[in-house]
């Protein structure tokens, strides 16, 4: 026995070494791409679909899609970048368009430039502009946040309104309808989180303005669109046609539970609206109401985000190739995510696809995608600048004062003062 082992020992050892190195080789070939994103009904599900498509053609590349809350993704990313160690960071991360320039400018060299690899001429220009810094383009454009007015046909019908009554209205008319709806059905017109300035952003951009001007300088006190937006939100609050919500999930609950008659937000909410099968056929989509100021339109944008590859990623080449193959070229992929998740992509060629022509049974057979696609083309382009988070908090800080009847000019001045203190 002893002799047996001794004579075979070199061979056994050799086998073991060979086996181990074989394992090491295959481990080195199998690449796993880690991705951070935040919405299980939307971008997480879409990224899993994209990953599955890529793995089919490249079996050696697998995907690990990690689902955090959006605030956690942003804060983990910022912490990781600030620490200067790449180990804690993913290979691909989803960044909301409002924050893109903030990351690009404050962490130079952290993201891989994709110009030269990706053909950006195929994408909506506003989207590419958001991710451009010093002539280099970073990131892969993803979804649009084109907005719409989702409404419950059944509630509005009870209150005596037809779908035609919801088309191309003003915000004042919207409030009147809201009062009627509450009187007749007992339902509130909309859910509203006083700690979220999303509605103010939607209204302001719909009239072609933003918290900042084209040069990125604060544009608050002389901003007619922002003033009208704040006045309108103040009217909504004092007319009490809203159900207050505390936080995102609470806000989503206002319409999934059937407590409110409308939702005004980005197209990416479609997946969440459709996640309630018992409400099928009860919803319709109209363009958002317009402000009564110069330049007012019925089209706006809320959010929208893009994929970015970390420069430090060990799988950088595969990650870029993956994004380019699926998000940059795969028209069929865009049709699938539109129908399944309501994702309106910003790859222009994808809009010629069949899915955009189709009627959606959930919305009573309306061709909602065609509508969103038309509105997308009308969204006024603005410069989000790099301080949207700060401005947003300054606005929400003033919403309670606004609801208590503080004159809107005083509110604008307070917002201006707060932003001035934050921008350094």
């Amino acid at each position: 026995m002893d002799k047996l082992v001794r004579t075979h020992l070199p061979r056994i050892a050799g086998l073991a070494v060979a086996g181990a190195s074989l394992l090491a080789v295959s481990a080195a070939q199998a690449k796993e791409i880690t991705i951070w994103c935040w919405d299980p009904n939307f971008n997480v599900a879409i990224m899993k679909e994209a990953g599955a498509r890529y793995t089919k053609a490249h079996p050696d590349v697998t995907f690990n899609v990690v689902d955090f809350a959006k605030a956690d993704v942003e804060q983990k990313l910022q912490t990781g970048l600030a620490s200067g160690t790449a180990d804690a960071l993913p290979d691909i991360v989803l960044i909301e368009d409002y924050g893109a320039q903030k990351y690009l400018q404050s962490f130079p060299g952290a993201f891989a430039p994709l110009s030269g690899t990706v053909d950006y001429s195929g994408f909506a220009p506003y989207k590419v502009e958001v991710m451009t810094l010093d002539g280099q383009v970073y990131g892969m454009p993803f979804d649009s946040g084109v907005t719409g007015l989702y409404y419950r046909k059944d509630y509005l019908e009870q209150a005596g309104f037809k779908p035609e009554d919801m088309q191309n209205i003003t915000w004042d008319r919207f409030i009147e309808i809201g009062q009627e709806v509450e009187a007749k059905t007992g339902k509130k017109m909309m859910g509203l989180d006083p700690n979220d300035a999303g509605l103010v952003r939607i209204m302001t951009q719909s009239a072609g303005q933003w918290y900042f001007d084209k040069e990125g300088k604060p544009n608050i006190t002389g901003n007619a669109a922002l003033k009208a937006a704040l006045e309108t939100v103040g009217k909504i609050m004092s007319a009490n046609i809203y159900k207050p919500a505390n936080g995102w999930s609470d806000w989503v609950g206002t319409f999934t539970s059937g407590d409110v008659a409308t939702v005004v937000t980005g197209v990416w909410i479609t997946g969440t609206v459709k996640a309630q099968p018992d409400q099928a056929g009860k919803w319709g989509v109209a363009p958002i109401p317009a402000l009564s100021v110069e330049g007012a339109t019925h089209a706006s944008n809320l959010g929208g985000s893009s994929w970015y590859v970390l420069e430090s990623s060990e799988e950088k080449a595969e990650a870029i190739d993956f994004l380019n193959e699926i998000y940059g070229k795969d028209i069929d992929f865009y049709q699938t995510i539109l129908q399944d998740r309501g994702a309106v992509g910003t790859l222009l060629a994808a809009r010629g696809g069949a899915a955009y022509e189709e009627a959606d049974a959930f919305f009573g057979g309306e061709k909602v995608w065609q509508n969103f696609s038309d509105w997308l083309a009308k969204v006024p382009s603005v410069n989000y600048g790099i301080f949207t988070n700060e401005a947003d908090l300054a606005v929400t800080a003033q919403l309670p004062a606004l609801s208590q009847g503080t004159p809107v000019d005083e509110v604008l001045q307070a917002i201006d003062a707060e932003i001035a203190g934050q921008i350094q």
């Binding site: 404050s106 700690n195 505390n246 908090l393």
Partner: protein, 299 residues
């Protein structure tokens, strides 16, 4: 084997002694001294994200012109001035009540009051958020017993949001302070109370003239600890308001502001470091003030 005993200054040159403490000293230097010095250096720099450059006292000047910093400072001081005295007094009263040997179920009560401070910060904040929701259990109970006519907007009104934070931290930390007082009360000689009782001193006077003076060192200790805790208040506000310190920045604390400056806004590490040194200075000042007020005076 006995070594001649070296006394005095000779001990400081004992290599073996230094070798024993060297690992601990090294860790302290890396994980405490270095970050403290580095953050002090950072507080003199400004810039966006990693693009920092030396800025002298610019950050300190910025403090004075920053309405949100002033707001956060005011809020933090409001919590401190309102909450700490309420909590200390409540803990004292509870401790003397629960120190009564004739009380049935003392152990149960003590455990019940101490339990909040071992629960998870996040769990209890989330629970409070649900309990104090517009249609939560607190509002519906208060309405049912007729105390209020319409629901209190706990999380959407600036005043009530602040009140809610104070209720939350009082609920969590009163039991913690109470345990210190209970331990100290056990050390007071029972005969003092007996004598007082024989002399006909009423219960309230026994509390104010015997219990409180004898507990003075412990009260000082808990006040300093609570001061530090309140000035660093973060978790409750973060979880109750989804990290925003709203409504209207009414619940924003200095710690939450530091967090926002670092991880939520355009990263401003230098300025965030300056704000954290404000907390350091405040804690130092308040603690020395408390030591000064509680000093033993020569009679």
């Amino acid at each position: 084997m006995a070594h001649p005993r070296r006394g005095g200054i000779g001990r400081y040159y004992d290599v073996n002694g230094w070798l024993f403490v060297a690992p601990a000293l090294g860790l302290i230097a890396i994980f405490m001294v270095y970050p403290i010095l580095w953050s002090l250096w950072m507080s003199f720099q400004s810039g966006r994200g990693m693009m920092m450059k030396f800025a002298g006292f610019a950050n300190i000047v910025r403090l004075g012109n920053d309405p949100i910093f002033i707001k956060a400072l005011t809020n933090t001081m409001t919590y401190f001035v309102v909450q700490v005295p309420i909590m200390i007094l409540l803990a004292l009263i509870l401790a003397s009540l629960l120190n009564n040997p004739r009380l049935i179920g003392r152990g149960l009560f003590r455990t019940a009051i101490f339990l909040p401070c071992v629960t998870s910060l996040v769990a209890y904040s989330v629970l409070f958020k649900g309990m104090f929701a517009p249609d939560g259990i607190v509002n519906s109970t208060l309405q049912a017993i007729g105390v209020i006519a319409s629901p209190i907007p706990w999380l959407t009104n600036p005043f009530w949001a602040k009140t809610l934070v104070i209720i939350a931290i009082t609920w969590r930390w009163t039991g913690y302070n109470m345990i210190f007082y209970l331990a100290a009360l056990q050390n007071i000689d029972k005969s003092i109370y007996e004598v007082a009782r024989i002399d006909g001193v009423p219960a309230w006077a026994r509390f104010t003239h015997i219990t409180i003076p004898l507990l003075k060192p412990v009260i000082l200790f808990t006040t300093v600890i609570s001061t530090i805790g309140t000035l660093q208040l973060f978790d409750e506000v973060y979880n109750l308001t989804e990290g925003k310190g709203g409504p209207s920045n009414a619940t924003l604390t200095l710690s939450l502001y530091i967090y926002n400056l670092t991880f939520r806004y355009m990263p401003s590490f230098g300025y965030a470091a300056t704000v954290s040194y404000v907390i350091v200075v405040l804690v130092a000042l308040l603690a020395s003030l408390q030591f000064f007020l509680a000093r033993e005076r020569d009679r």
